[in-house]
């Protein structure tokens, strides 16, 4: 095997099809950037799930004087009803599932509301009595919120039981949909990348048909004839996937860490470390894609 010769052949091939090679590079670049972004988004979702699910509480909202009459016929939950609910939380049936709970009265709810909606006109009109008093329950296993919901729904003095995870799930569903869309676009782009690679090789094989004919006659091995073509595709796709890896890393470094993380300081975001996990996978995917596409093209257009 003479590497100088093989490298020379690859160089020839790349120069001969320069426009096709550039399009292969660009298409793999864009498609793998989508793949990388989607996988980072998935990592981000995983990270947020871990973080928020652990902190998600179940809220047992008590009736207020403005609660709808069909759920709260007695109006504002009396202190007796409050005590009954608290007793139930302390009962041996529920105790094993509950890590801790605390009670939020009208005053605390009002203060929190004022803080959250500071500057919003709604803050001016709301009164403490309109806001629910609430038992905030943290569970040992946040996925078992069903138990609390079933125990307190319909209990006198309880307006509503709400698992905070249901809000989070909506956010995660949106993020999931976004990453699925990215994967879908990436899949289409990858198909066109594969087709482009095989077209490039077909053109390349056609423009080198004299050489190939002579190589076959003098007994060059199939491997030797095909290698420059495969490597040509692989080189182009590697450049494209390296660009994609670079793009993904800079998105993490400059957009996520540099911008999002400073704007939203209490959320954990994917780090450069996560990006460095994704980047080599992208390059490997690019090389694999081009090797498979080239192999396929060669089987079709370079019969020995």
């Amino acid at each position: 095997m003479r590497f100088g010769f093989v490298i020379g052949e690859i160089g020839h091939g790349l120069r001969r099809n320069v426009s096709m090679v550039i399009s292969v590079i660009l298409v793999t670049f864009i498609s793998l950037t989508f793949v990388g972004t989607a996988s980072l988004l998935q990592l981000q979702i995983g990270q947020m799930k871990n973080y928020w699910y652990d902190r998600a509480q179940v809220a047992v909202y008590l009736c207020t004087e403005v609660s709808p009459a069909d759920v709260c016929p007695q109006g504002e939950a009396s202190t007796d009803l409050q005590a009954a609910i608290e007793d139930k939380l302390k009962s041996p049936v529920l105790q094993p599932y509950i890590k801790e709970y605390f009670f939020e009265n009208h005053k605390q709810a009002y203060d929190k509301f004022q803080e959250q909606f500071a500057g919003n006109s709604v803050a001016k009109y709301v009164t403490p009595n309109q806001l629910n008093e609430t038992f905030w329950v943290s569970l040992k296993d946040p996925s078992k919120s069903q138990i609390i919901t079933e125990s307190f729904s319909g209990v006198a003095g309880v307006e509503e039981v709400r698992d905070q995870r249901s809000y989070l799930d909506q956010i995660f569903n949106i993020l999931n949909a976004a990453s699925i869309a990215a994967v879908g676009i990436a899949a289409l782009m990858l198909v066109s990348a594969a087709l482009l690679i095989s077209t490039t090789i077909r053109l390349s094989a056609f423009s080198r048909r004299r050489e190939i004919g002579i190589m076959r006659l003098v007994g060059a091995s199939n491997f030797y004839i095909q290698l420059p073509f495969i490597l040509e595709g692989v080189v182009a796709a590697t450049i494209g996937s390296a660009l994609a890896a670079g793009a993904v890393l800079s998105v993490v470094q400059f957009f996520v860490q540099g911008y999002l993380a400073t704007k939203l300081p209490f959320t954990s975001f994917v780090t450069l470390g996560d990006g460095l996990l994704v980047a080599p996978a992208l390059i490997a995917a690019g090389i694999l894609l081009s090797a498979v596409a080239s192999g396929f093209a060669i089987r079709r257009y370079l019969r020995i």
């Binding site: 002579i214 076959r216 006659l217 003098v218 199939n222 020995i304």
Partner: protein
């Protein structure tokens, strides 16, 4: 060296086979002219010997390889033991004479040292000293065919297949090429040459295999282009000789 037994080749979509039950044996060191009209099956036979194609039925053995059963990964190694030249030379127009010859060695992985030694030697042998750095376009047809011959024999093949090597050349130039082929043959290489050139066949008086309509019409030693009267049953007697060598388990 080359043994073809009961070979039939039928191309798809044709009613008449290109080769019809052809048997032929060529010994080591033979010089064989394959003659016959266009479409008589010469090229089909050459393609089978090169393993460009496989027969519909029958067997083809060349240099001990069963070309019907040879696995495709071994075909390149088989072809390294074989030299081929064509009517249209098949040189690379962008490479010089020396590079054209060197290319055939590079692609089978020969070392640079071997190439630097072998290429000038073979160019000298075919009479192209001093033209190593010319491009094919700057050479005459005869010289181009010499380059093709140099490329075919640089790896010292045991068999040289020549498909109308003088087809594009004038008679004087053809003589030069034939002299070269005779020298290659004298050095021990088996030569099979398909040709239409009556003058050459008549003058050299080598073994002649004449094809007609996909069958061997005549197989005669020391013969001319047209069947001579001196040998009344040439085909039969030659077939007897083949039968004998097979039963003795002779060289393929």
């Amino acid at each position: 060296m080359i043994r073809i037994e009961n070979v039939t080749k039928q191309y798809k979509g044709t009613s008449r086979p290109a080769l019809n039950n052809v048997s032929l044996e060529i010994e080591k060191g033979d010089f064989v002219f394959l003659v016959g009209a266009s479409g008589s099956g010469k090229s089909s036979l050459m393609r089978l010997m090169l393993r460009e194609d496989i027969p519909t039925s029958g067997s083809v053995h060349v240099m001990g390889e069963n070309l019907v059963a040879i696995p495709s990964r071994r075909i390149p190694f088989f072809r390294r033991k074989l030299g081929v030249v064509f009517q249209d030379f098949r040189l690379l127009p962008t490479k010089t004479v020396a590079q054209n010859v060197a290319f055939s060695l590079e692609v089978i992985g020969k070392s640079q040292g071997f190439i630097l030694e072998a290429v000038p030697d073979v160019l000298a042998m075919v009479g192209l000293e001093g033209k190593a750095d010319r491009l094919p376009g700057e050479l005459s047809g005869g010289e181009q065919q010499r380059v093709a011959l140099a490329r075919a024999i640089v790896n010292k093949p045991a068999v040289l297949l020549a498909d109308e090597p003088t087809g594009n050349l004038d008679p004087a130039t053809s003589e030069g090429i034939m002299a070269l082929l005779e020298r290659i043959n004298l050095a021990g290489t088996t030569v099979v040459m398909a040709t239409h050139d009556r003058g050459i066949v008549d003058r050299l008086q080598k073994r002649v295999v004449e094809m007609r309509d996909g069958e061997i019409f005549r197989d005669q030693r020391s013969a001319g282009y047209i069947k001579t009267q001196t040998d009344s049953h040439p085909v039969k007697s030659w077939n007897l000789a083949i039968d004998q060598s097979w039963s003795l388990g002779g060289d393929e």
